[in-house]
Symmetry: C2
Subunit: 249 residues, 2 copies
């Protein structure tokens, strides 16, 4: 059924909806979204996670979720999976892992609207939307379909990532979405057993950008092989960083 | 003018056209594309580089190109810029750096066709297309508009990047584009002055995937702060890796 465009709306039963975005790919946005969702669920919140990256969904892998989603008989309602106490919906669960989603704009727009409207999230305190890179159909459909309570911007310290983070911030501000803060990821690498920090991707970029945008810098997360292992193994290494997820909500 | 869809064609005056793709963002695809183009130009080839990432163009920054592109009076022909001996066309040159390209599918399709058809590349031995992450409108338009001589797949060692690399490979194979090989980037980090390798993003993923796909593994490029500095400063650190770009062409 065509979704009447009545402007962004809330989702029934869902308290708050936040987007985790970066503009640039590969900065750790999905890792931050997964760890945020899991750590909030661990501290008792009812949390959902919607992997909106239709082209490269990674949340099913990152949460180690082998169960699929189910479509309720006779209705168009989609029942999300659940892992680590988080309700999860991802394109990866609808397509096989290796088949590419070779989809053009109008099709991804329909899928995105379906994810947001037809999934039975139940009662949630928070729904986290993990956004793909860029500012195209998926992002525009999201800001036009749901009323976001805020957006978390993930970046790495270098200029090439900050340029894209600024674009994501500008896009959200254009539609009056509050920027909750900036999370800088891959800030430095410490060799195990030594105190020396190696700033492979530079330093201070996240802090400067947060000041420039007048939003809080929520965390500077080091490069840590355990974080990457957790992502590949489906066991999110809950970020022990000063991100203090509960502070988010 | 509408571009008649007569199937993928070559570009006048251009010898070979290769795509550099990854599926996943942030794995170093633009860095590899920039360094490949510059090192081929240095060894005397006539090379062009087209930044097809309309949402997050970074080639103008990576090549330190301050000059813009110019549109020829009275025609729709676009004259590319030139830096480090490479002819460059990028969306970043048409838009200001901080304004997001909030564009839906049909619009990016038109822009992509314009880049490929209306830019006056002149006589080139090789045109390198730097593709955005995903398998959406831009990628589909490229494979439907130009006859690609091959695609270079860039990945990092971990599974979450390999899943997306496989999708990109599957998309190319569906339209009979030859996969030239796999480049694994960020393979390890060596602390300056020590011999110890830290495999922050895992190890061997690129090699296993190349074997699985029956294509050559062209390089394993270490994480190196100089590579990142070069990218932010517009001075591509020409990859001293066994990539041996000339071997490519
Ligand atoms: N702080 C970190 N330390 C080590 N690896 C990380 C860190 N953050 C992310 N990664 C790894 O980097 C890769 C990219 O992260 P991902 O969350 O997929 O980025 P994005 O969603 O921005 O594309 C993943 O393999 C992930 O495990
Ligand atoms: N081997 C490397 N060592 C250190 N930094 C790298 C390396 N390869 C890429 N980078 C840096 O990583 C970031 C992402 O690379 P980029 O080429 O933009 O990736 P993509 O095009 O896949 O999004 C850039 O800041 C770049 O300078």
């Amino acid at each position: 059924q065509a979704i009447a465009s009545t402007g962004p709306q809330g989702i029934e039963g869902v308290g708050k909806i936040i987007a985790v975005a970066s503009g640039k790919g590969g900065v750790g946005k999905s890792t931050v979204a997964a760890n945020l969702a899991v750590s909030l669920a661990k501290s008792g919140h009812r949390v959902g996670l919607c992997d909106c990256d239709l082209y490269g969904p990674s949340q099913a892998l990152m949460l180690g979720c082998r169960e699929g989603v189910r479509v309720e008989e006779g209705t168009e309602r989609i029942l999300p999976a659940e892992c680590h106490g988080v309700k999860l919906m991802s394109m990866g669960m609808l397509l096989g892992d290796d088949s590419p989603a070779a989809l053009r704009g109008p099709m991804v727009t329909r899928f995105t609207q379906q994810f947001l409207r037809q999934v039975v999230w139940g009662d949630l305190d928070l729904l986290v939307l993990d956004l793909p890179p860029g500012t195209g159909d998926i992002q525009l459909t999201i800001v036009q379909t749901v009323a976001l309570d805020g957006a978390l911007i993930v970046t790495t310290p270098q200029e090439v990532a900050l340029v894209d983070a600024r674009k994501a911030i500008a896009m959200f501000r254009k539609v009056n979405v509050t920027i909750l803060g900036v999370v800088e990821n891959m800030s430095y690498f410490t060799v195990p057993g030594s105190a020396q920090r190696h700033e492979i991707f530079g330093t201070g970029g996240g802090r400067r950008e947060a000041e420039r945008q007048k939003v809080p810098l929520l965390a500077e997360i080091p490069l840590d092989p355990e974080t990457r292992k957790g992502g590949d193994a489906g066991e999110p290494v809950v970020l022990a960083s000063p991100l203090g997820p509960s502070g988010q909500v």
